[in-house]
């Protein structure tokens, strides 16, 4: 996949409400082709809901365009077929299937019915490649349910790779990971992002600083600030939100305010 083939994500006037509560309130957001964008903000800022709206899980108004196509109003599986993939806060893999089977299913959305009805005789090359990329080759034939939490997250990322997505939306990919796992995931993200447009929701500011190429801060369903990690860190409104409204997250605030 070449740089020219990449598409950007353009969100305008996006609004999502549940039973009177507006979770996303008129968000305008552009993620350029090949960007590695971090989406941060205090709890309840609407980060996950935004991703839900983009991927068709939550009903929304406004407009979400990817590569010239409007996404809103399409069913989830159609959006996925346009090359948009996501992960969830809690790793969701098919626990009763092996790692290879998980990846093979992810690789196969475009398969013809006749292919589906046949047995898989060997491991498809793209699955093999993904196994190596996410470092699960030694566990290829283990049931996914027996993997560790971090390994499941990597398997999910691997599934997105073989799914051949152009836009990756990752919801807290390093939450609950050990330090070593986090570093490995960061390196993995870099590899992945070199050929794709990536949006990451993250609470871990250290992780963000190490890997983000741009950052959007959401607060109360709106965009509060946007720019490079350094610009966002310097924005007084961001410091206000983290220091003034979220005292229960002092580490996050400290990281935002910290000079490199």
């Amino acid at each position: 996949m070449t740089e020219e083939a990449l598409h950007g994500l353009t969100i305008s006037e996006l609004r999502v409400s549940f039973d009177g509560f507006t979770a996303v309130d008129g968000v305008d957001l552009r993620v350029g082709p090949g960007d590695l964008r971090f989406l941060i903000g205090p709890n309840g800022a609407g980060k996950t809901t935004l991703v839900d709206a983009v991927t068709g899980l939550a009903r929304a108004t406004g407009s979400v365009r990817f590569g010239g196509r409007e996404l809103l109003g399409r069913p989830v599986h159609r959006i996925a077929r346009l090359g948009i993939g996501r992960t969830f806060q809690t790793a969701t893999v098919f626990e009763n299937l092996t790692v290879v089977q998980n990846l093979d299913i992810a690789a196969g959305a475009g398969r013809r019915p006749l292919t589906l009805l046949r047995q898989r005789r060997s491991v498809p090359p793209e699955v093999d490649e993904a196994l190596t990329t996410v470092g699960l080759a030694p566990h290829a034939h283990r049931l996914a349910g027996t993997l560790s939490h971090g390994q499941k997250q990597w398997l999910e990322i691997g599934m997105l790779l073989v799914q051949n997505v152009e836009l990756l939306l990752l919801d807290e990919p390093v939450a609950g990971m050990s330090h070593e796992e986090r570093d490995a995931t960061g390196a993995l993200l870099r590899t992945v992002a070199s050929e794709r447009t990536v949006v990451v929701i993250e609470h871990d500011m250290e992780f963000m600083r190490a890997f983000a190429s741009s950052v959007t801060v959401l607060h109360a369903g709106r965009v509060l600030s946007e720019g490079s990690p350094a610009e966002v860190r310097a924005d007084p409104r961001v410091q206000e939100v983290y220091l003034g409204h979220a005292p229960e997250r002092p580490t996050a605030a400290a990281h935002v305010g910290e000079e490199p």
Binding site: D19, T48, D52, L57, F88
Partner: protein, 298 residues
């Protein structure tokens, strides 16, 4: 015109029976997510309670009044026993709960056959319930049986009592807390296991009441529960999970639809039509009349 009215009244009385049964289900299925197929046999237990009480007390009226709380207790106790023995081990597997409780329902039916015999029996209706109220006299007379009115009253009373319990009492608050967030409720000091058991007691007890009501309009038999339980489940499906008002609307809507269709076609065609109507309705509102929206993945 009076024909439609009179069928509507029939429908409302069908709806009242459905509602009584569905109320208990809306607690156990709606609030707790447990599909208890033995609910129908708790109804049967309530009905046989009337039969047994009448064996020792001659007056049909007195025995009916004694049977009401007694049937509630009997069916409630059976519910608690079932919850404690089996269901609490299966909260994570709702479909297996359905199958397990169906096995229990088979056993309870056989138990009833062994104790009371396979043929249906009848309970005496008290004299003060045997009359009819005439609303419109003449060629198309419009009458309402006292027994039907009694069932309607019982259903309304049960709805009001249940609503008050859930909204106003501390028990109700605990039940709702466990329904909404089990782990959080547990963390804030609510004994969720006990709350589950109490919820099950009330839900099953309501089935007992429904059983008492059913003795006024039909015979008592080992399989009396099976035939009506599917309809009651459909009420919950249409009404929406965990919603009392949904159950109320759905029960009466299905009852009236059934009665009106029965008049214009036959009983069997009416049943099929009602079912088709339900499938069509689910196309429009797959989660029932009232839904709780969540953003969880499942």
């Amino acid at each position: 015109m009076t024909v439609i009215l009179s069928q509507s009244f029939t429908g409302i009385s069908i709806g009242a029976v459905l509602l009584l049964i569905a109320l208990g289900l809306s607690l156990t299925f709606g609030q707790m997510g447990v599909i208890n197929m033995a609910h129908g046999e708790f109804i049967m237990a309530g009905a046989y309670t009337v039969y047994v009480v009448q064996k020792s007390i001659d007056s049909a009226g007195t025995s009916l009044l004694i049977s009401l709380p007694l049937a509630f207790l009997v069916a409630g106790a059976m519910g608690v026993l079932l919850e404690w023995l089996l269901i609490r081990r299966l909260y994570a597997r709702p479909l297996d709960t359905l199958l397990v409780t169906w096995g229990v329902s088979l056993m309870l039916q056989q138990l009833a056959r062994d104790i009371f015999g396979a043929p249906n029996v009848n309970a005496q209706a008290p004299s003060w319930l045997s009359g009819r109220i005439t609303l419109v006299d003449g060629e198309h007379s419009l009458t309402l049986a006292h027994s039907r009115l009694f069932i309607l009253g019982l259903a309304i009373a049960a709805v009001v009592a249940l609503t008050l319990t859930l909204r106003r009492t501390s028990l109700g608050r605990r039940i709702r807390a466990v329904v909404q967030h089990r782990d959080l409720a547990e963390a804030s000091g609510i004994a969720t296991g006990r709350v589950d058991r109490i919820t099950f007691f009330i839900g099953s007890g309501l089935a007992g009441l429904a059983g008492v009501a059913l003795t006024l309009v039909g015979p008592i038999g080992p399989t009396m529960g099976t035939n009506i339980i599917i309809d009651a489940f459909l009420v919950i499906v249409v009404g929406g999970i965990g919603q009392l008002r949904g159950a109320v609307i759905a029960a009466f809507a299905l009852g009236v639809l059934q009665a009106v269709m029965e008049y214009s076609t036959t009983v069997s065609v009416a049943r099929v039509t009602v079912l088709v109507a339900i499938v069509a309705f689910l196309q429009w509102r797959p989660q029932g009349i009232y839904t709780l929206r969540t953003r969880s993945l499942a």
